[in-house]
Point group: C2
Chain length 121, copies 2
DNA sequence: GTAATATTTCGTCAGATGCAGAAATGACAA
DNA sequence: TTGTCATTTCTGCATCTGACGAAATATTAC
């Protein structure tokens, strides 16, 4: 039951939910990208991401100076399916999707994106 | 997305989650039973239940003086499945299950249980 | 109608949570 | 080692949330 509780708490905050949904189709983001995406200070982003990590919803991986976040492979598929079904006609999610894509393109040239070019995505 | 958010907020509080899980195998409870179950004042229970209702997780039905709560039939099956899978070895959920059962037996003789004896369960 | 009972709404308080900025930590480069 | 940059932890502040009791509302019994 504790897992339901911590996951629900983690996803029950708008900014954290937006990041999680963004990760569902962008695979990987670092703190600076999330900060840009949400318009929040790095410290705040770090705090939010650690809550998502503690809920076992995302993995963090440190590569060089940067920390990269991605959805933890062990997240229950029913949970992901439910979320997927629940966002089909959300305009904000659609906007966020486009914003994340252009943001990732924009960060293509920055240092944090060069570190991981050999990896998947 | 708003639905994910409101559902997560609703289930991200321990007492509300416990009531919801209890409803998953007791079908129907009235405010007084939930109050006894959680050890909370009626006013507080009412508030919690209205949050679950607003999140479209439970239905409320007034019969006589009493209000009965049950899981809304439209709740996404993937969500229920995820929760079901997540509680298989939770000792607190098991205890709660027994407590609810004996509590319902105890309330069998009370007025609020006599009203609905013709209905399912 | 009035009284009794169940529930909801309102007012208030204590504790939790989100936020930013400052300081601390960790990693790389010179 | 020292400097720089990315991130995290700490601190303080504003807002949100859960709790109760009291008052309001709704329904049944008389």
């Amino acid at each position: 039951m504790e897992s339901i509780l911590s996951i629900s708490k983690a996803l029950g905050e708008k900014n954290r939910l937006r990041v999680f949904l963004a990760l569902m189709h962008t695979k990987e983001l670092c703190v600076c990208e999330v900060g840009e995406f949400l318009g929040l200070a790095p410290a705040t982003v770090s705090r939010h991401m650690s809550i998502l990590c503690q809920a076992k919803l995302v993995d963090s991986q440190k590569r060089g100076k940067w920390v990269y976040y991605s959805i933890k492979p062990t997240v229950a598929p029913e949970l992901l399916q439910w979320m997927q079904n629940s966002i089909v006609d959300s305009s904000l999610v659609a906007e966020d999707g486009k914003r994340i894509e252009s943001l990732v393109r924009e960060y293509q040239d920055k240092d944090c994106r060069k570190v991981c070019s050999s990896e998947e995505r």
